[in-house]
């Protein structure tokens, strides 16, 4: 099958790739797992909003307010379509981290009788693969409510160990929150059995889709999940906008997290009632330009085709894994093949600390992530102090992998190991 993603052409849409890096090198951006670069179309959409339509949405009767409203709600439709969700289920937040915190605090505010109410004896299930953003909110919710936090372990190959599925997700379980794809290892978690078991015991399933939604097609109905979070800035969008999706019925049953303007139905000095979802979860004037920028980003991705993007990244990862296997004293941490694996490669170089690897790569114009990747428990489990991580996206090609591999050899030479 021909590769339908042409990074050389795509790069022309991204102004940042004309920047000259340290050492006079071109930018080899291999840190999209942390944040993606932004195409002109996204920057233009934000600018266009501020220059021509800026007004506070959901209030005001003037022309600008109407236009702002239309653009913002139009953006909501784009995001909803992107994950096959209904419009009323799609909440804009400031980040995926806020989305997950909103869920955990909302659940924590639940009253006895609610399906989300937690008390000692109840159980929350996570995994050792989690990014801190999908661990700490649940860990702290467990502490506040007395619920028990348990977790799926990771196999030495970096896969989620599902052998204790029925034991972990038991009748006392209320919430299961799992990542779709590890930000450290690239492992994609097969969800079918976990989601089925979650529903069998009457619990809700929360998916952290930060590392998956930008890279392959997500269909919340087909996945049969209950909640999903992802961030705009990892999907070509601006910072300051995240997504919280939840089933309408659940969103309506939930308590709000942030309260204030926009999210109310009526207010007196002593009491308030809430608007319907999604507004119930969007207190205050939202990050409008960012939501509109995100819609432009998702349109950009959709035009390329999520299937094409996934294929491109799979081929590039396969190429990189082959190249890495030929390197001396370099170990890939995580799955060594492209089955259920995204375009993220964590690795260690013998006798060179990840920060020092990253520093040398920087000299070649290569941007990677180093350290524990906000997944400290996973690092400890794997017995590592950190890794160097290269993550690929639509604008990367084989020449970027070649540059990386050459620079790793350069680091080994520099440190004489």
């Amino acid at each position: 099958m021909p590769n339908l993603i042409l990074p050389f052409e795509i790069k022309k849409d991204f102004p940042i790739f004309s920047k000259i890096m340290r050492g006079g090198n071109r930018l080899v951006y291999l840190d999209s797992g942390a944040t993606s670069q932004k195409p002109r179309q996204v920057l233009d959409a934000e600018r266009d909003f501020y220059e021509l339509h800026n007004a506070a949405v959901h209030r005001g009767a003037h022309l600008l307010a109407e236009e702002a409203n239309e653009a913002y709600e139009g953006a909501r439709q784009v995001v909803a379509d992107f994950i096959n969700a209904d419009l009323s289920e799609l909440v804009f937040t400031k980040s995926a981290t806020e989305s997950l915190n909103a869920l955990s605090y909302s659940f924590g505010n639940s009253k006895p009788g609610s399906r989300f109410f937690l008390e000692p004896g109840d159980r929350i299930v996570v995994s050792e693969l989690e990014h801190h953003a999908n661990l700490i909110p649940w860990q702290q919710l467990a502490k506040r409510t007395g619920a028990e936090l348990v977790w799926f372990e990771v196999t030495p190959e970096g896969r989620l160990d599902q052998s204790k599925l029925e034991e972990l997700i038991n009748e006392k379980t209320k919430i299961v929150a799992i990542t779709h794809q590890s930000n450290v290892l690239g492992t994609i978690v097969p969800l079918e059995n976990i989601v089925a078991r979650t529903h069998e015991v009457g619990a809700v399933f929360v998916l952290d889709a930060c590392q998956s939604a930008p890279h392959f097609a997500i269909d919340v109905k087909a996945l049969d999940i209950d909640f999903l979070a992802f961030s705009g800035h990892k999907a070509l969008g601006p910072t300051g906008v995240g997504i919280l999706w939840g089933r309408t019925q659940y969103l309506n049953e939930m308590e709000p997290f942030l309260t204030g303007g926009s999210m109310i139905e009526s207010v007196t000095m002593t009491d308030s009632t809430w608007a319907q979802a999604p507004k119930k979860f969007e207190a205050g004037v939202p990050n409008m330009a960012q939501a509109i920028g995100l819609a432009a980003a998702l349109n950009y991705l959709t035009k390329l085709g999520m299937e094409n993007i996934a294929n491109h990244e799979r081929e590039l990862t396969k190429y990189a894994l082959t190249k890495f296997s030929e390197l001396r004293a370099v170990t890939v941490i995580g799955p060594k093949d492209v089955v259920d694996r995204g375009a993220v490669i964590s690795f260690t170089v013998d006798k060179i600390h990840p920060h020092d690897v990253g520093q040398v790569l920087d000299q070649y114009g290569i941007a990677v992530r180093t350290g524990h990747h906000c997944a400290w428990p996973l690092m400890k489990k794997l017995g590592l102090v950190g890794t160097t991580r290269a993550s690929f996206y639509i604008y990367n090609d084989e020449s970027d992998v070649d540059a990386l591999v050459d620079a790793i050899a350069g680091a080994q030479k520099y440190f004489k190991v």
Binding site: H353, H355, Q359, V360, Q363, G386
Partner: protein
Amino acid sequence: MDLDSLYQEVILDHYKNPTHKKLSPTYSAQVHHVNPSCGDEITLNVTIESGLVKDVSWDGVGCSISQASTSIVADLMIGKEVDQAFQTVEAFSELMASKGTSVGDEDILEDGVALAGVSKFPARVKCALLGWLAFKDAALQSSDKQGEI
């Protein structure tokens, strides 16, 4: 290459052969410092007697800069008056904040001046400071304890 100003031979020597990297069984204060953003960790023991730094020892994991810097600070502080030690930490902090404009005073910082190049790489300054701030913390705690006696 810019890298050479960061990774001076002195630093790589300290990294490969760190000094005082074995925690002493006794100490007047022990601290554990981490760089939360990157996972560098050190434990550092200080023994202070009569206003004099008698011993500094440490153990830890981290990048070449953090480990070499801790090795340098341990070696540098032993035998110093506590006040003088604090002034030295201050001088090093100023060097790290200099954004490449200072070479550091070798009379005060000795091997520490090899870290001057770090100040050109803002992301690495915290690596270089880890051991120094751990020492300062331990020395302060130790002085507090002696004050109580």
